[in-house]
Subunit: 290 residues, 2 copies
DNA sequence: AAATTTTTGTAACGTATCTAACAGGATGAC
DNA sequence: GTCATCCTGTTAGATACGTTACAAAAATTT
């Protein structure tokens, strides 16, 4: 924006002296509860300020707008920019790179995704999901799709440490029926399904649901059809300036959930981690020092 | 106010399930930049959401408003009330949760990681790495560790679409020597190694280096020992309030790189994507509609 | 595979909204 | 005190807006 960095409120304040009595009266009503008052119909604003409608129309023209609708449009723009919040303020993430560099553009998009997605999460549901998943009496199965199976496996690898009886169902496998044989109302299924939604995943979820299992779904903002049979749904924004979607937000969610589960189940997890470390030591898989 | 403590955004969120496809699409656009989008003319909102005007009118009625103007009036009321309150606080990511909730703590940490990591990236190196990886004359091998092989596979799945001659070396496999047999100075290795650094990964990197291959390393802030033989190193901060590390920042980096590579190689990638889509259609793997 | 229900868009209508023109009123100059 | 100028409200018209009715399309059921 060219003439910007000045809000409309600033502009009104600035020109306050050049305004006439009725116009000043009006200006004060606008600033009173800014910007809400300016976003309603012209007549309401006029009545609220105790002036006539044309006075309003004249003033906005005096302020340099083409008309009242244009004035409102700019007010909305301002509001939109403000709602982006403080973090949106940053100039560039990577210094030395133009704001047009893909690193900055992509990061912008992901941060935006995170903000939107996190804002929509119901913490009660989140906590309930964690509680369900650490319940050692309930077998847990995790399933993903063509791309999302990497997320599924990531969750699986960590849950494996936190508790026993966790299974990762490979998406491409033909062995699904076997997994479903012994499913009861006690089972919990974690399903990943982002666009493009996969038929196989939907069928598996439906079968698990029919068997009475609880279903926790991770999906995108548009929601996989699986959500119709899901007991809990977590949706993330995944749009990115790319031909593909960004899994960064879903990953963040999963990691947070892992962290929460670990806390819920720390007494057991601690012992399991220690035993795991021992075994790693024996296989010399990892280096002892940096 | 009577029905208060629930914002309109909450109400939309709550009824999201009872909405139809077009209405959900619309709901998302409203929430996208809330409340600004809802304060403009109905037709603008409809166009922005890609739905028809009546769909908007119908939805606001479904939500319990007498009509679009009434809906806008309540939005303005909400805005007015918000402006009154203590200076708009966006210090928590998930509304309704204390700032001490794990969702907020974890997200804070990840955003912090992103800021630090992105700030340290040299864009020249980044661009060079992308250029190296889209060079179809150079075979690319991708390798990860116990946890990071999920990242490796994520990169692999996408690069497979962008270009031919990409291999994912499974970390647990004993077949590494086979992969290394034909390695020349033309090869490029992408290595993932986060703490705890794995001996196998280091050995493989050393052997590839000895054969003259280029090595691109993704590691954490402390840097895997692999970096001694790496031509390019990208390090991310991975600390999180958890017993485990966060892969969100490395994932962001990888996704950005995928996006950059796609742009560099768009002419070829486009054709590959189309052929891939065709094959998906034939296997009926994905659903045609939402 | 056909039929019914639901959803979605197009078109037309009535209305609320904004603006332009005009006239009455206030303010200041001489 | 009278005139000129500027400001403000009333009236009326044009336009854009939201809504209703209808038809096409999609989805679901039989």
């Amino acid at each position: 924006m060219s003439d910007n960095d000045f809000t409309i409120a600033d502009r009104i304040q600035q020109q306050l002296d050049q305004l006439t009595r009725a116009e000043r009266q009006l200006a004060h009503t606008i600033l009173e509860n800014y910007p809400a008052s300016g976003l309603g119909p012209l007549s309401t604003l006029a009545k609220g300020a105790g002036v006539s409608a044309p006075t309003v129309a004249r003033m906005v023209q005096k302020l340099g707008f083409g008309g009242y609708p244009e004035f409102q449009a700019e007010l909305r723009e301002e509001l939109k920019a403000k709602a982006k919040g403080p973090i949106a303020k940053h100039d560039t993430w990577t210094k030395g790179a133009s704001s047009g560099h893909v690193l900055n553009r992509f990061t912008d998009a992901v941060i935006d995704n995170i903000r939107h997605s996190l804002g929509q999460i119901d913490t009660a549901t989140f906590d309930a999901a964690c509680a369900l998943l650490v319940d050692a009496d309930r077998p847990v199965s995790i399933v993903g799709g063509r791309i999302t199976h990497t997320l599924a496996e990531y969750l699986f690898l960590h849950m494996q440490v936190i508790r026993p009886d966790v299974t990762h169902i490979e998406s491409t496998s033909n062995t699904w029926p076997h997994y479903l044989l012994d499913v009861t109302g006690n089972d919990v299924f974690v399903v990943f399904d982002m666009r493009r939604y996969e038929n196989n995943t939907l069928r598996l979820a439906e079968m698990a649901h029919a068997a009475g299992a609880k279903i926790i779904l991770f999906t995108d903002q548009w929601r996989s059809p699986v959500h119709r049979v899901a007991d809990m749904t977590f949706s993330s924004r995944i749009v990115a300036p790319s031909a593909w979607d960004s899994m960064a937000t879903p990953l963040l969610l999963i990691e947070t959930m892992i962290s929460a589960m670990q806390d819920l189940n720390w007494d057991n997890t601690r012992g399991r981690i220690e035993r795991l470390e021992d075994m790693f030591d024996q296989t010399k898989l990892f280096r002892k020092f940096t």
